[in-house]
Amino acid sequence: MIIKIEPQSDIPIYTQLTNQIIEGIAKGEIQAGESLPSVRSFAADLGVNMHTVNKSYHQLEAKGIIKIIPKSGAVISSPTQSIDTVSQRMSGALRSIIAEALVSGLEREQIQELVSSIMNDLNKKE
């Protein structure tokens, strides 16, 4: 799986990493049980600070997406949190985005279309 970062972007690099790893798992490019590279080699391959990668890994761990196991590294875990907790968290995050979309002038249908097109894109096998 290719990871692509833009150092000049306004989005911090660790967020870019987190987002891309999550998307990679959603697309099935990496699966539960597979492990991510070590912090050192990941940072070296990208030429970024080790703290950046570390921060992203901790973010992913907090979301329950990976498990950091001492000595064997970061392993992608299968979903562990209950559906309720996840829906609650997602609803909070989606709410503000949908609100922004409505305020910016998108219609209900347009938002629904947008969501399903993103879903299709994530489901697409390469």
Binding site: I5, E6, Q8, I30, A44, M50
Partner: protein
């Protein structure tokens, strides 16, 4: 004999110096990052050509004069050695001056064309690239280390048999020509020096393995092949050098303990063979790596380009990047590796062993 050895080394070195612009990573010209669409530019091609023609022209003239002078005047061995060394440094100095000249011109070219202002700069990596890495594991390097430890033990056992004068230098004929007085320290200086060198080679291999596999966003495949080839062949080359160095120095050391163990002819042949192996290895290495990224055709992507690392490369030669945990990075002008000067580990692996070796040879 000295003339032949120097001729081989100088011809070889001049050959590599001449070819460097065509062996380096294709997106870096005289130490300056140039995006894909400008790589075939005529001005840049003419810089490379001019460099190559000038370096080869000067080298041929100097070599011709060297041979002519040696055959005509029949100077002493020492004078030949001295002249040979001066010529080597001269060619390096000349090609480095030319490098800086064209480095400057390429920077001006890049500024003039406003390269890299309107495209997105990205850095990429592939999560699976580490599994394709074919570098030798570090423990392979233990093999020559074990031999040296054995040699060390054998020397201590045979201390009484050792001659009163311990050789410290060997001439081109394989015979020792400088000596020091025997004492428990001078008896083991050679195996100890060898050991430090082997450990340094092992450290370099480990450090290289931990360093980044740098992929280019604009030409992902070509850069992947080049990085993997460079890593694989440099670890093999280092290992082969370590093994043959061990063999050569062990032969010399065993001859000190048991004079006449090997026939004289072998003693002449061994250093010569070592030289040939190292030069051939360098040649194969340079060609393999130099060609690695020139064979796959890739359609240039116009909307993105690699992040411009020029600010980390001082003079296009020295890499300083505090953020990058890599210990070694691929050289920009030449084939091989360069230290990340902002990472203290690099100094530890390279400078400390060299200091220890210097210390051993002066004590």
């Amino acid at each position: 004999m000295s003339l032949t050895i120097f001729l081989i080394i100088i011809v070889f070195m001049a050959g590599i110096q001449t070819a460097i612009p065509y062996l380096v990573k294709r997106t870096v010209i005289f130490g300056v990052t140039i995006p894909e669409q400008y790589l075939k530019d005529r001005t840049l091609s003419s810089y490379k050509r001019t460099y190559t023609i000038l370096v080869s022209f000067i080298s041929i003239i100097v070599l011709g004069l060297f041979v002519f002078w040696t055959l005509r005047k029949n100077p002493s061995e020492e004078l030949i050695v001295m002249a040979g060394a001066i010529i080597q440094f001269g060619i390096i100095f000349f090609s480095m001056s030319l490098y800086f000249y064209f480095h400057g011109k390429t920077i001006v070219f890049k500024k003039k064309h406003n390269i890299s202002d309107n495209v997105k700069h990205v850095q990429i990596t592939d999560l699976s690239v580490r599994s394709q890495d074919e570098m030798l594991p570090w423990y392979v390097y233990l093999l020559p280390v074990l031999i040296t430890v054995g040699l060390l033990g054998y020397t201590i056992l045979k201390y009484d048999v050792l001659p009163e004068k311990i050789p410290t230098h060997w001439g081109p004929n394989g015979k020792p020509d400088a000596f020091t007085v025997k004492n428990p320290f001078s008896a083991v200086t050679l195996p100890l020096t060898l050991l430090v060198m082997q450990l340094m080679f092992m450290g370099i291999n480990i450090g290289t393995k931990k360093s980044g596999i740098k992929l280019s966003a604009a030409s992902t495949n070509a850069s992947r092949i080049r990085q993997l080839t460079l890593r694989k062949y440099s670890s093999w080359f280092l290992f082969i050098v370590s093994v043959f160095l061990t063999m050569m120095l062990s032969f010399f050391h065993l001859t000190t303990i048991h004079p006449g163990l090997f026939i004289d002819k072998a003693m002449v042949a061994i250093p010569f063979t070592f030289l040939i192996i190292v030069l051939l290895g360098t040649l194969i290495f340079a060609v393999k790596v130099g060609r690695a990224d020139k064979q796959t055709a890739e359609d240039p992507k116009s909307d993105i380009t690699d992040i411009d690392e020029d600010s980390y490369w001082k003079g296009g030669l020295f890499y300083f990047n505090k953020n990058d945990p890599s210990i070694f990075v691929e050289k920009r002008f030449g084939v091989g590796w360069s230290i990340n000067f902002a990472n203290p580990m690099g100094y530890l692996i390279v400078v400390v062993p060299l200091l220890v070796i210097l210390l051993l040879s002066f004590l």
